[in-house]
Symmetry: C2
Subunit: 148 residues, 2 copies
DNA sequence: TTGCGGATTAGACTCATTCTAACTGATTAG
DNA sequence: CTAATCAGTTAGAATGAGTCTAATCCGCAA
């Protein structure tokens, strides 16, 4: 179920951590592995339980710490929807999120550069945005999860 | 500071409430008045304190109730940013939000129909969205609040 | 070996929000 | 009139995601 990190993923993790002056630890590897294994935008709690299967002693606080670290060094993105628990997403390409009203599932929606551009263009002069978050809320036809 | 509702606003409130089978109460009027008086996207707590100046016995629970009611009948919109307290906004026109990194202030950004359309068009078939939320995060040049 | 510093841990804590149960006050039914 | 009903309000308790704290662990350098 939770396969190990590929060499490539391992390097990716190591590079990002070291670049921001932090260490690769077994806990961080475990959490990162979980994130890549099932790209279903898990909550902290879900990550915690999945990672525990592989590393039983892991604490919740550490999962919070790891995820914060990953966000800090650009390895994953936070996804917030209304006031629900924060979810985490290892997809780094610019994309929007679609939240299914019925199932609560979150899907990534590709965001073409030209749409990004037109969005940026609606900002009045003087407004300088680094982050744009776009989220849709509605119904999605049954669609299998694309765990790539 | 907090002036009374205009006749027009009063009718607006009454119509929306009655249409969804609910009553106009002094508390609801007070909360609505506060929302219209200063359109700075206040948190529940801010609404609470402002409304207390006018109606000292008002309880926090009621403010939560009123705001929920207003959202339910389309009088106001919730604005969430990351996991911060929910803010409320009486601007009903479709618009995005810009959150100033430094001050925490939230500004409305007009959302042209054509941008809305291009956004809707990026949804793959099978995805049907009712709500689109767009929020920018960055720095804004000094700009006075437009309390209209 | 000792000391240092980052990482991890369990558990206490915070705080926005929700829930609960009692109360109020207007309206309706007898 | 009097009681029953019912939406709305209220204070305070409960919830739960997230944060903080203080102790410990562990790899590395002096």
């Amino acid at each position: 179920m939770i396969r190990n990190l590929t060499e490539q993923d391992k390097e990716h993790l190591q590079e990002a951590l070291v670049k921001s002056g932090q260490k690769v630890t077994p806990q961080r590897e475990a959490v990162f592995t979980v994130l890549l294994a099932e790209r279903d935008h898990p909550t902290v709690d879900e990550v915690f339980h999945r990672a525990r299967e592989v590393m039983p002693g892991l604490s919740l606080a550490t999962v919070y710490n790891c995820l914060e670290t990953f966000v800090g060094c650009g390895l994953v993105r936070q996804v917030n929807h209304e006031r629900e628990s924060t979810r985490y997403c290892p997809n780094l390409a610019p994309h929007a999120h679609f939240r299914d009203k019925e199932t609560g599932q979150v899907h990534d929606i590709e965001l073409p550069a030209e749409v990004m551009k037109s969005l940026r263009s609606i900002l009045p002069p003087g407004f300088d945005s680094e982050v744009i978050e776009i989220s849709f809320h509605g119904r999605a036809q049954a669609k299998e999860s694309h765990s790539n």
